[in-house]
Amino acid sequence: MRHLLRRILFYLFAAWAAITLNFVIPRLAPGDPAAVLLGNLQSRGIHVGAAYLKAIQAELGYNTGDPLPIQYLDYLNSLLHGNLGVAVTSSFEPVTNVIGRDIFWSLGLGLVSVILSFALGCLLGIVMAWKRGSLLDTILSPLLNFLSAIPYFWMALLILYIFGFELRWFPLTGGYDELNVDPGWTLDFIASVIYHGILPALTIVIASVAGWMLTMRNSMITTLSEDYVLMAKAKGLRTSRIMFAYAARNAILPNVAGFAISLGFIVGGQLLTEMVFSYPGIGYSLLQAVQNQDYSLMQGIFLVVALGVLGANFLAELSYAFLDPRVRLERSA
C-alpha cells in the first residue's frame, strides 16, 4: 500500500513537471510567439488589428504586463477548465476539439501496434532463447538489431514507397477512404480503417519489436539456467509447459519493467509515422502545428501525449507490482 502511494505521488509530481515545463519553455524562448503568429497570419492574407493582437496574446497566456506567478496561475486555471487555446492552423478551432478529434485515431493505432509488437517480441525472444545458437537465432538477432537502428520515419517512407507506391497494395494517405465511405459503425467503414491502418501499424511494429525481443531473449537465457527450470525438465514436463509456465513467466518481468521507457520512445516514433502516412492522428496535427508555428496546438499535443504516456506507465507499474510480489514489499526503485 505504501508503495502504491509513493508511485501515485511520483506520477502526480511528474504530471506537474510536464505541465510546468509546458509553461516555462515558451517563456524562456527569445522573441514573442504572438508576433510570430501575427506575421504568420498576415502572410496568409489575414489582416489583424492591434486589438486582435492583444486578444491573441491573452489567448496564448502572454499578458506580458502580468508578473510570472499570475501568468502561471492563469495558465493552470485555463488548463483546469480544459482550455488549451485555439489552433490557428484549423481556423481558430479550440485545441481541445482538434485533439479530441485526432486522439481516437492515434489511440487505436498505438494500442494495436504496441500490443502486437509486445506480444510478437516476447514470443520471438522466448523461441530464440530456447533455440539459442540455431539458424533462427543467428539470423534474426543481427537483422532485428539493424531494424531497431532505423529511424521510424524512414522506415515509414520505405514501407510507404514499396507497398503503397510501387506495388500499390495499400492506400498512400489518410485514415479511411474519404470519397466512398462515410464514418460510422458500418462494416465498410471499419474495413476501410483497417485497410488504411495496416501500413502505419506495420511500421511501428517492425521498428519497435526488436527492443522487446532482445530484452526477452537475454532475460530468458538467464532464467533458463535456473534450478527450477532444470527441475521441470527432470520431471519430464512438456517443452511448451517449461517454456511458458516456468521460464517465460519469470523472464517477462524486465520487459514489463522496461515498458515505461520504451513506450515514450514508441509514442515519439508513432507521431513521426503518422506524419509520413498523413494519418489523421495527433502526430499529423503536430506536423502541421510545427510547420505553421501554431504554438497552442503544439503545446496542447505535447501535454496530452505526456499525460497519456504517464498514465500508461502508471498502469504498467501497477501490473508489474501485481506480477512480481517482491516489488510490493521492497522499496520502490
Partner: protein, 332 residues
C-alpha cells in the same frame, strides 16, 4: 531501449581483471607511456576478441573516415543546382540527383560529416551530464540524491521526442538549439544507470580508503570512482549516440533544424518536401536513411558484443575467442 539494460556487467571488466595482465612487462620509469600502451593494447583486444565488436567498430571507423575525408572526395558542390534534375543513379551521378539537380552522392558525403560530428559531440555532452548527475547523486546520497533521482525519473517518463519538438519549435533554428534540446531530453537514462553503479561502489574499500586519507568529495567521485566506471560509461556513450542520431535526424526531418545545411536529416526533409516518394525518386530518400541505420546498427553491435564479453551466457556461439581471463572468470 534495451541496449543499455545489461550494461552493468561491463563494469566487471574493470578494474580487477585488466591491469593484472600487463604491468610487469614495462620498465618503471616511463610508467605513463607504459600505461598508455597497456590501454591501447586493451582496447585492441576488446575490439578484436569478439566478432560483433570487430564488425561494429570497423563500420563506425569507416563512417568516421568518411566524415573527415568525404567532402574532399565529393565530385560536386552539394548545394549547386543543375538542369539535370531527378536523374536516376548513373556514372556521372552515382546516386542520382535531386529535384533541383543537386548531386546526391556529394550531399551524402557532406551530410555524413555534419551528422556524424554533431551526433558524436552531442552524444558526448549527453553522457557528460549523465555521468555528473549519476555519480554525484549516487555518491552523495541523502537529500541531494533524493532530488536528483526524482528529476531523473521524471525526465525518464516524459516522452522525449514530443518535448524536444515543442522546445525546438520556440528557439532559433540551428544545430546549437537541437544539441541543447537533445541534451535536455536524453540524459536521464544513463544517469539512472550510473547512479545505481555508483551506489554499489560507494562502500568499496578503495573509496573508504580515499575518504580516510582526506581526499575531497569531488576528487573521490571523479578520480577514484569514475575511472572504475569507465567501461559502463563507454557503453552508455555508444548507446547514447544511437539515440542522439535518431532524435537529431527526426528533428531535422520535421524542418526544425537548419534546413540550408547539408546533413542526413535535412536531405530527408527536402526529399519529403518535394514528395520524392510519389515521384518514385527512391535514390533521394533511401541513402541517408541507410547511413543512419547502418551506423546505428554498428554502434548497437559494439554494445551487444561488449555485453557478450562481460556476460558469456548471452553468446549465441558458445565457444569462440573469449579472452582467457574472462573464460576463467566464467567458469568459476
Amino acid at each position: 531501449m534495451s541496449l543499455g539494460k545489461d550494461l552493468k556487467h561491463v563494469a566487471t571488466l574493470e578494474p580487477e581483471t585488466i591491469p593484472s595482465t600487463f604491468p610487469k612487462k614495462f620498465p618503471r620509469r616511463d610508467s605513463r607511456l607504459a600505461r598508455l600502451g597497456e590501454n591501447l593494447r586493451l582496447v585492441w583486444r576488446v575490439l578484436t576478441s569478439n566478432r560483433k565488436v570487430a564488425i561494429g567498430s570497423s563500420i563506425v571507423a569507416f563512417f568516421l573516415l568518411v566524415a573527415i575525408f568525404g567532402p574532399l572526395l565529393a565530385p560536386y558542390d552539394p548545394t549547386a543546382t543543375s538542369r539535370l534534375s531527378e536523374t536516376p543513379p548513373s556514372a556521372a551521378h552515382w546516386l542520382g540527383t535531386t529535384a533541383t539537380g543537386q548531386d546526391i552522392f556529394s550531399q551524402l558525403l557532406y551530410g555524413t560529416r555534419s551528422s556524424v560530428f554533431w551526433g558524436f559531440l552531442t552524444g558526448l555532452l549527453v553522457t557528460l551530464v549523465s555521468v555528473v548527475v549519476g555519480l554525484v547523486s549516487g555518491y552523495l546520497g541523502g537529500i541531494i540524491d533524493e532530488i536528483l533521482s526524482l528529476v531523473t525519473n521524471v525526465f525518464l517518463v516524459i516522452p522525449a521526442l514530443p518535448l524536444a519538438i515543442v522546445a525546438v519549435g520556440y528557439f532559433p533554428k540551428g544545430p546549437l538549439t537541437i544539441a541543447l534540446v537533445i541534451i535536455l531530453t536524453n540524459w536521464s537514462f544513463n544517469a539512472r544507470l550510473l547512479r545505481a553503479q555508483t551506489l554499489s561502489m560507494r562502500s568499496r574499500e578503495f573509496v573508504t580508503a580515499a575518504r580516510a586519507s582526506g581526499e575531497s568529495v569531488w576528487r573521490i567521485i571523479f578520480f577514484e570512482i569514475f575511472p572504475n566506471e569507465i567501461g559502463i560509461v563507454a557503453a552508455a556513450f555508444v548507446s547514447t549516440v544511437i539515440f542522439v542520431l535518431l532524435a537529431w535526424t527526426a528533428l531535422e526531418f520535421l524542418g526544425l533544424g537548419d534546413i540550408n545545411t547539408v546533413s542526413w536529416g535535412s536531405m530527408l526533409y527536402w526529399a519529403q518536401q518535394s514528395d520524392s516518394i510519389f515521384s518514385g525518386l527512391w535514390w533521394w530518400f533511401a541513402p541517408p536513411g541507410c547511413c543512419i541505420a547502418l551506423l546505428g546498427a554498428a554502434l548497437a553491435l559494439i554494445n551487444f558484443g561488449i555485453d557478450e564479453i562481460a556476460d558469456p551466457r548471452l553468446r549465441s556461439e558458445i565457444s569462440e575467442h573469449v579472452p582467457k581471463e574472462l573464460k576463467e572468470k566464467a567458469v568459476t
